[in-house]
Amino acid sequence: MMQNTVRSETWLWLAQRTSAIVLAVCIVIHLTTMIIAMQGGLSTAEIAGRVSGNPMWLVFYGTFLAAVSVHAPIGMRTVLLETTSLSTKRVGLLTMLLGLFVFVLGVRTILGLYQMVPVS
């Protein structure tokens, strides 16, 4: 029984590190994109124009979002377990909800942007 906990904690750690590597790549791309995009002035039209109908951005942001939805909750889990007296179960539930919330919020936006008809 305790061994199952150890096993799942080990997988969580691995998911944390794996998503970290994915995020490292995504963030370099994201920061570069944003710094370039900002130069021409950021606007709704600019964002939609870049993402709509472009499967490359769909895949990129989808991957980015998935990685964040894994990485942030597991990170917050550690922080909450070490700084509060909340139970492991409660912390797991709260952080899982955070992950779901972030993912759902992000997916709706990415799909919405992808499906938008760009305003010329």
């Binding site: 970290a20 130069q39 955070l98 919020l105 709706r108 936006t109």
Partner: protein, 113 residues
């Protein structure tokens, strides 16, 4: 001032990593919500973007970028330590991490509209 055992660079790096992580975890849902306005209320987003080009907000955004870069570079140092066994030059790597983060923040700020 009482000496503390926490007065060394890799401890400050840990603190920075934890604080930046928590700030990012708070920032991201807000960021994603604002972005969702691009789909649901483009006019409101444009208004927000205009507001966010004021110097104070731009500075706060820069702060967030520095937090992101710090979390990333600090994280890379940790991945190097854990997976590649890079145990030496820790203090140098911490210094590099801070330097690179501030540089990225500066590049962001200078390119802000």
């Amino acid at each position: 001032m009482k000496q503390t055992h926490r007065n060394h660079p890799t401890y400050w790096a840990f603190l920075l990593h934890r604080i930046s992580g928590v700030l990012l975890a708070i920032f991201i849902p807000v960021h994603l919500y604002v972005l969702s306005l691009a789909v649901t209320d483009g006019a409101l987003l444009d208004e927000f973007l205009r507001w966010s080009s004021t110097p104070v907000v731009k500075l706060m955004e820069t702060g967030m970028v520095v937090m992101l870069a710090a979390h990333l570079t600090g994280g890379l140092r940790l991945l190097g330590l854990e997976f590649l066994g890079w145990v030496s030059w820790q203090k140098t790597m911490v210094a590099l991490s801070v330097g690179v983060s501030l540089t990225i923040g500066l590049v962001f700020l200078l390119n802000a509209d």
